[in-house]
């Protein structure tokens, strides 16, 4: 087991190196110059431009820059933003809490909603409840999340004035009323992600329950005379949760990607918004760092999912 984990961790290092190389190559080989804004400015002489290039470290060939980037990254040096000149790592620490708040709350809510809905849907298959839940799940993953966001904005912010339209990033929680304000402004961005994630997780939970319900251990439990409630909750649900838990781990990178969309819609100053502005400003170090963080998230949670599956299901053997 621990050997398996060690091997998987060791494999994920070259994986991440290859991914970072791909991202770096895409950024380096793309036409377009981060100094384009200076290029059109006649007040800046060629020598100064060359100096800026040297300072930003973009005067060298890109494969050398890549090696330097990897070494610096391992030393915890993520470079400096072209745009704000601030260290990239500081920018990320600044933006991370907002993203984590929205994403974390949304994912917990989605899990808490999806598991009971999935259980009831499966136990009462084809009932009215199941039909409605299935229908809403289909709607949930057929609406693009930016459109869910716009509709919620239209109804609850513009129509009913329950929540603010735009997220205020300067709000500080000092007392009860500012806490309530924070909750209110988080509600819509969280709701968009909840709709999207609940739809997918409900389907997983339902089909995992349906896989387990006809199995023999369930019949045995009933034959022992256990109450149906106990059979479902203690026997079927615990076994059905195994694949769902791994899917929950696998879904974490997806919800961060979803945050890119909601943050841009509601102007939440999180990592997703940072990524979009950095892409639009050709702020290569920031784009590189953020894309790499997304890759690390994906690889890490793939690993977590695989390991969890083995821990929870003793039938899985690692070799």
């Amino acid at each position: 087991m621990s050997q398996y984990i060690l091997r998987r961790v060791l494999i994920s290092i070259p994986t991440l190196l290859v991914i970072s190389f791909i991202i770096f190559a895409v950024l380096a080989l793309a036409p377009g110059d981060p100094l384009a804004q200076f290029a059109v400015n006649p007040a800046i002489p060629e020598s100064t431009r060359q100096l800026i290039r040297q300072q930003l470290g973009i005067d060298q060939p890109w494969h050398i820059r890549y090696v330097k980037w990897v070494i610096a990254m391992f030393q915890g040096n993520w470079g400096f933003s072209f745009q704000t000149k601030a260290p990239v790592i500081d920018l990320i620490w600044q933006r991370l809490p907002q993203t984590l708040q929205v994403v974390g709350v949304a994912y917990i809510l989605a899990i808490l909603l999806a598991i009971p809905i999935g259980i009831i849907s499966a136990v009462r298959q084809y009932s009215f409840f199941d039909q409605v839940a299935t229908f809403f799940a289909f709607i949930g993953f057929s609406v693009p999340s930016f459109f869910t966001g716009l509709l919620l904005m239209l109804v609850f912010a513009i129509g009913l004035h329950w929540f603010p339209i735009v997220y205020s990033s300067t709000l500080e929680i000092t007392n009860w009323s500012s806490f309530v304000l924070q909750i209110r402004q988080m509600t819509l961005p969280v709701a968009v992600l909840v709709v999207q994630q609940t739809a997918a997780l409900t389907r997983f939970m339902r089909s995992s329950m349906l896989d387990n319900l006809p199995l023999e251990y369930v019949r045995t439990a009933r034959a022992k005379g256990l109450a149906e409630r106990v059979v479902v909750l203690r026997h079927v649900v615990t076994n059905s949760l195994i694949p769902v838990v791994t899917l929950i781990a696998l879904g974490i990178p997806t919800i961060f990607a979803g945050a890119i969309i909601t943050e841009n819609l509601f102007r939440v100053n999180g990592l997703g918004q940072l990524l979009i502005t950095a892409i639009q400003n050709s702020d290569t170090p920031v784009v590189m760092a953020l894309t790499f963080i997304f890759a690390v998230l994906t690889v890490t949670f793939n690993l977590v999912a695989d390991v969890l599956y083995g821990v929870l299901d003793p039938r899985v053997r690692y070799n």
Partner: protein, 327 residues
């Protein structure tokens, strides 16, 4: 019929036996007179009885026909500006769905956007599914080193951060590709290729699994024995038997690609501002959410209905093509 029956069975003894034989002969005749039931015929029969899937297929068909022929019947230029009618409500004379802030007709633009969105969905799906089928077929059929290499690559692609990478590549390569291939075609190609290039992995896994089990079947052995070459065995003998899961995956991929494209447009990274894709129309309309909410709602609902129809179809196809998996 009785005479025919007796002609087949000249040694009829007891009346009871005669009746049974008569009956079975009648059954045989009725079976023989019917057209043989084929795999695809059965699938179509099951699909036709899946009500939601049929509704989905109908809606999708209507949308496709409307976006092809709509502009011929509704003769309003999507580029034309109506200076008198700005932000006018739906059902304004001359503008069935109203106009935007500079007087563009929304319906004309929605038709145009439909062409792009649906085309992006199908072409991106074709790229993803062909690439995935090829990779999966090669990996499953040849196995060994090649299989390992291809599956490692698949795992690697699954670990790529999809949305950030998509945003990045489309944004960075938009200008040069546009210069090389023209504004609309260039963007279309880069969007479609990038969506397809980041979406083939699930198909590859499905196809590989099918190939692994099918290549040991007797009909493949027979083909090998007859000296059929490897390419024909892969694509003429095995692949058609692995089509069912590919079709289901392909259907769902069309919907995913449409959502991805509209998301790119929404984030300002897809088609240029003057190309009215559905995603772009939602973005532009979202600036007038208070004054003219329909500007964002109409194209948004169109995306939603298209993708919902496709997902319902996918569900029906799954039940129709693989009844064992039915839940």
């Amino acid at each position: 019929m009785t005479q025919a029956n007796q002609a087949i069975n000249p040694r009829v003894t007891s009346p009871a036996e005669a009746r049974i034989q008569q009956q079975s002969a009648a059954d045989l005749a009725s079976v023989l007179s019917k057209k043989p039931r084929t795999l695809w015929g059965d699938a179509w029969r099951r699909f036709r009885h899946h009500r939601v899937a049929m509704i989905g297929a109908t809606v999708l068909l209507i949308f496709i026909i409307a976006s092809i022929f709509g502009p011929i019947l509704y003769k309003v230029n999507p580029e034309a500006l109506d200076a008198v009618n700005l932000l006018s409500k739906p059902l304004t004379p001359g503008h069935l769905l109203g106009t935007d802030e500079i007087g563009h007709d929304l319906l004309a633009r929605a038709f145009f956007g439909g062409r792009i969105s649906i085309a992006v969905g199908f072409v991106a799906m074709l790229i993803a599914v062909s690439l995935g089928s090829l990779v999966g077929a090669l990996a499953g059929f040849f196995g060994g080193k090649l299989d390992q290499l291809l599956m490692r690559t698949t795992d690697l692609f699954l670990s790529l951060p999809q949305l950030p990478l998509l945003l990045l590549t489309v944004y960075l390569f938009r200008d040069p590709v546009t210069k090389a291939l023209g504004p609309e075609k260039g963007i279309f190609i880069i969007v479609v290729v990038m969506i397809g290039a980041l979406a083939w992995m699930s198909t590859a896994r499905i196809v590989r699994a099918s190939f692994l089990s099918l290549k040991r079947k007797e009909f493949v052995e027979a083909a090998v024995g007859l000296g059929v070459n490897e390419r024909s065995i892969m694509f003429r003998h095995i692949l058609p038997n692995a089509l069912s899961p590919i079709i289901v995956a392909a259907t769902l991929e069309v919907g995913n690609a449409i959502i991805t494209e509209s998301t790119l447009s929404f984030l300002g990274v897809g088609f240029p501002p003057d190309t009215p894709t559905w995603g772009r129309l939602v973005t532009d309309g979202s600036q007038f959410l208070q004054a003219a909410p329909w500007l964002a709602i109409v194209p948004g609902v169109l995306i939603f209905l298209t993708v919902l129809s496709i997902n319902f179809m996918g569900d029906g196809l799954r039940d129709a093509l693989d009844p064992r998996q039915r839940q």
